[in-house]
C-alpha cells in the first residue's frame, strides 16, 4: 500500500467547546476525498488546521511520511497545499487577469506588463477551460457563479499537490459544475489529491473516490465511495438524540399566529409554506446557508420578499411588512443571530440595552423617562434571567457572551411581543446559560406566545420544539410533529434541498 499524501491522526482543537476530538483522516494522492458532515461537525476547522490558518491543540499530521506542522498559510503553500474558500476573495475593481495573477503581477522596469499579463491569463483560462471569461473583464461585472469559477481558476493556476475545495459548486450552473469536475479529473490524473467538501450527495457520488464523515469533531466514517450508500452516510451524519431532553409536552391549545404562503426571496427562499402558532415552539433546522436566517428576516420585514404572502390569521388580509417597524407594530420580534453586530449596543450601559425597546412605556407625561420605573423593570429582568453584573451602568461590552445574549433577549421580553423569532439563541453560550434560555423559551410558549427558534443543533431543537421545520437550500423540505422526528429524518431533509435544486435545473 502506498503512503497517503497527508495523514492526520488524533487531532484535537477546542474553542469554548471541543470542535475536533481525536480526528483522523488519510488523503491519498490522485484521489478525490469527500468530507461530509452537518454544521459544527468541524469541517472548516479541520481545513483551517491543514492550511496553517489555525493551530491544532494537539495531534499529528504527516505529509508523505514526514511531520507536517504549518505555522501559516504560506507554509501550507510551500508544502503544496492550497484551499479555495467558501467566501470569495476577489477584488471587484480589478480585471480577471489582475485577479488571477494578483500576487505575482508581471512588470517591466517596475511598470505593469499588461500584454504579458493578458497572454498568461488567456493561456490559463484556456487550460482550465473557462471560455466564457475574457482577461480584461472587470470582476465586479461578473455573475456570482463566474466569480466562483475564477476563484477556482486562481487556485488551479499554481502547482499544488493537495487542493481543498470548500463548497465549490454553491453558485455554479450545471455546465460550470461539469467544467469544474473535468478539471478535478485532470488534476487527479496528474497525481493531485483533492479534499472536497459539499452538502450535495449527488455530486459526491459522481466524483468522490473516498468519503469521510465528521460528526461533532469525530471521524465517524471513512471508506471507499463505491460501497457506501446515501442512507448510510446520512445515518452517520445524524447525531443521536438525547432522549432525556425530550418529553416536556406543552398543552396543545394552539391557534394560528402567522401563515406563510409561497414565500420567495431571490434564490435564498423558495416557495415556503409554513404555519406559526401561538402557544408552541416551532424549531427550524437546516444547514448553515440553508435559508433559516433569511426566513426569519423575511418574516420580520428586515429583508423584502419577492413572492408570497404572510397572513396574520385565518381569513385576514396579508400583512404588509416593509420594514421591521411594521413587524414590531404587528407584534413580531426578532432576536438576531449576530449579537455583536445586530443585537447589543456594546459601548452603552446595561440599563440602556435592556430598556431600549420599551422606553415609550416608561415616560411620564412630560416625555421624560421615569428613571425609577426604568430601574425597577430592568432589575426584574436582570434577576429573572440571572444576568451577572456589578451595576446597571456597566457597558455591555464588559459582559460575557452569554450575558450579552441575555441582554438582547431581556430587551424583547420587556417589549412583550406575541410572536418571537429567535435566531441561534444559544450560540457561544455555556451549558448552564443554555438551559436557562431553554426554560425562558418554554415559559414564553406556555404563556401563549408563538416562539420560533432557529438552531444548528438538532438535539437542541428536538429537546425544545413542539414542531420542527427543516430548511434546505432555500426550500422547506419537511415539517415534523413532536414524536415523528428522528435525527436521521431531520438530517436527510436538511440535505434534500441541495439535490432538489439541481434536479429542477435539469428539468428545465
Amino acid at each position: 500500500m502506498t503512503l497517503p499524501f497527508l495523514q492526520i491522526t488524533g487531532l484535537n482543537k477546542s474553542y469554548a467547546t471541543p470542535v475536533l476530538e481525536n480526528t483522523h483522516l488519510d488523503i491519498s494522492a490522485g484521489k478525490v476525498h469527500a468530507l461530509m458532515g452537518a454544521n459544527g461537525a468541524g469541517k472548516t476547522t479541520l481545513c483551517n488546521i491543514i492550511c496553517g490558518i489555525t493551530p491544532a491543540d494537539s495531534g499529528y499530521m504527516q505529509r508523505l511520511g514526514r511531520p507536517y506542522q504549518p505555522d501559516s498559510i504560506l507554509d501550507a503553500h510551500h508544502a503544496g497545499i492550497r484551499m479555495v474558500m467558501q467566501e470569495l476573495n476577489l477584488i471587484a475593481d480589478l480585471t480577471v487577469a489582475e485577479n488571477l495573477f494578483f500576487e505575482r503581477l508581471p512588470t517591466r522596469y517596475g511598470i505593469l506588463n499588461l500584454e504579458q499579463l493578458h497572454t498568461d491569463a488567456a493561456t490559463l483560462l484556456h487550460t482550465v477551460g473557462i471560455n466564457e471569461l475574457s482577461p480584461s473583464q472587470k470582476v465586479g461585472d461578473l455573475g456570482i457563479g463566474q466569480q466562483q469559477l475564477l476563484e477556482i481558476a486562481r487556485a488551479l493556476a499554481l502547482p499544488c499537490q493537495l487542493l481543498i475545495l470548500d463548497e465549490p459548486t454553491a453558485a455554479l450552473s450545471d455546465p460550470q459544475v461539469d467544467l469544474l469536475f473535468n478539471n478535478i479529473k485532470r488534476l487527479t490524473a496528474a497525481g493531485t489529491a483533492i479534499l472536497y467538501i459539499s452538502h450535495r450527495m449527488e455530486e459526491i457520488k459522481r466524483i468522490a473516490d473516498d468519503i469521510s464523515v465528521l460528526r461533532d469533531g469525530h471521524t465517524v466514517f471513512s471508506g471507499s465511495a463505491e460501497i457506501v450508500s446515501t442512507q448510510t452516510l446520512i445515518s452517520h451524519m445524524a447525531a443521536p438524540l438525547d432522549e432525556s431532553a425530550q418529553g416536556e409536552t406543552t398543552p396543545a391549545k394552539t391557534k394560528p399566529a402567522l401563515r406563510l404562503r409561497g414565500i420567495g426571496r431571490n434564490e435564498r427562499l423558495r416557495g415556503i409554506d409554513l404555519d406559526i402558532q401561538y402557544g408552541e415552539i416551532l424549531g427550524i433546522a437546516g444547514l448553515m446557508g440553508s435559508g433559516r436566517t433569511e426566513l426569519l428576516r423575511a418574516i420580520y420585514g428586515a429583508d423584502q420578499i419577492n413572492e408570497g404572502k404572510i397572513y396574520p390569521d385565518v381569513d385576514k388580509q396579508p400583512l404588509k411588512l416593509k420594514s421591521p417597524v411594521d413587524a414590531v407594530a404587528h407584534g413580531i420580534g426578532l432576536i438576531p443571530e449576530d449579537r455583536k453586530q445586530q443585537g447589543v449596543f456594546l459601548t452603552q450601559s446595561i440599563r440602556f440595552n435592556v430598556s431600549f425597546l420599551s422606553l415609550n412605556r416608561l415616560t411620564n407625561r412630560w416625555g421624560w423617562i421615569d428613571r425609577v420605573g426604568e430601574h425597577k423593570v430592568i432589575q426584574q429582568q436582570i434577576e429573572a434571567l440571572s444576568i451577572k453584573c456589578d451595576s446597571l451602568d456597566q457597558p455591555a461590552a464588559s459582559l460575557s457572551g452569554g450575558n450579552q445574549q441575555k441582554l438582547s433577549i431581556a430587551r424583547w421580553l420587556i417589549r412583550d411581543c406575541p410572536i418571537l423569532l429567535f435566531d441561534e439563541p444559544t450560540r457561544g453560550v455555556d451549558i448552564h446559560t443554555k438551559s436557562q434560555i431553554y426554560g425562558l423559551l418554554r415559559a414564553q410558549a406556555a404563556a401563549g406566545k408563538a416562539v420560533v427558534v432557529v438552531s444548528s443543533e438538532n438535539s437542541e431543537l428536538t429537546g425544545l420544539s413542539d414542531r420542527i421545520a427543516v430548511m434546505s437550500n432555500g426550500f422547506l423540505t419537511a415539517t415534523f410533529e413532536q414524536g415523528d422526528w428522528t435525527s436521521e429524518l431531520i438530517t436527510a431533509a436538511a440535505f434534500r434541498g441541495f439535490d432538489a435544486a439541481r434536479q429542477s435545473v435539469h428539468d428545465k
Partner: protein, 328 residues
Amino acid sequence: MLIRIADFLGRDFLGLVLVLCVLIVFFGLSSDYFFTALTFATMANQLPALLVVAVGMTFVLIIAGIDLSVGSVMALSGALLGFVLVELQWSIPYAIIACLSLGLLCGFGNGFVVARWGIPSFIVTLGMLEIARGGAYLVTGSQTLFIGSKVQWISAPLPLLSVSSGFVAAMIVVILGQIMLSRTVFGRHMIAVGSNDEAVRLSGISVRSIRVKVFCLAGFLAGVGGLFQVGYLQSADPNAGVGLELSAIAAVVIGGTSLAGGRGSVINTLLGVLIIAVLQTGLAQIGASEPSKRVITGVVIIAAVIVDVLRHRSGGIARYFKAFRRTP
C-alpha cells in the same frame, strides 16, 4: 445628592470645569483687564450664536454624522431675516418665524438626502454649505443689510441682569438639549443610532426618521444662531459665520463628544464653547497676535481629543479586566 448631580452631568464634566477654571485664573493673572464685568459681558453677548449651533452639532455627532453647513445656514437665515424686515417691512414675529423655518428647511434637506440615499453627511452638508452661502449672497444682493434698532433687543442686556436675552435663550436651549439627550426616548434613540444603527433597525425603530429629525434640529438651531448673530450685528451680513462649523465641531469635541457617535453631552459642549471663548478673549488681551491665537487654539483642540481618547481607552480597558476577573 452630589453623586446624583455627578451622574447627571457625567464624569467628563468636572475635568472640563477644572480646565476652564485654570484658563480663567491664568488669564486673570496675566491680564489686568480680564477680571472685569465688561470682559464677561462681551463674551456673553458674542457666545449665543456659536453656543446654539454647537448644541445642534452635538446631536449630529452623537448619531455619528457631521454637519458642515451650519455656518452658511446661519448666514442664510440671518440674511432672510434682514431681507423681510428691511425690504418687505414684515413685523418682527413673522420675520423670526421665516428665519427659523428656513434653517429648519435646510436641515431637513440635509437629513432627507442623508437618510433617503444613505449618502455620507460630510458630502451632503458640504454641498449645503455652498448652497446656503450662495443663497445668503443672493438674498442680500451681496451686501450687508442694516436693520438697526428693530433687532437690538436680542443682544441688549436684560433689566436686572447684565446679560442679553439671546444669552438667556441660548442657556435655555442648552438645558432643554441636555434634558432631551439624557432623559427622553428620542435622546436614547439618537445615542443608539450612533452606537449601532443596524441594531436599531432590527429593533423595529426607523433609523431614517431619527437621522432626519437630528439634522432638522441642527438646521433649526443654525437658524436660531442666525437670529442671534443679526441681533448682535444689528444687520444681516452674508459673510457671517464663515468657518463657524469648525469652531462648533471643535467646541463639541473639546466637550468630549465622540466623532464615532454614541457618546456626548450638551452641558459639556457648553463648557467646550466657554473654553474656546475664554481662550480667544484671554489670548487677545495678553497681546497674542491673530495668527498665534489660531495656532494655540488648534493645539488645544488636538490636545483635548488626545486626552479624551486616552481617558476613555484606559477606562474602558480597566472596566474590561475588572469584568474578566469576576466571571470565572
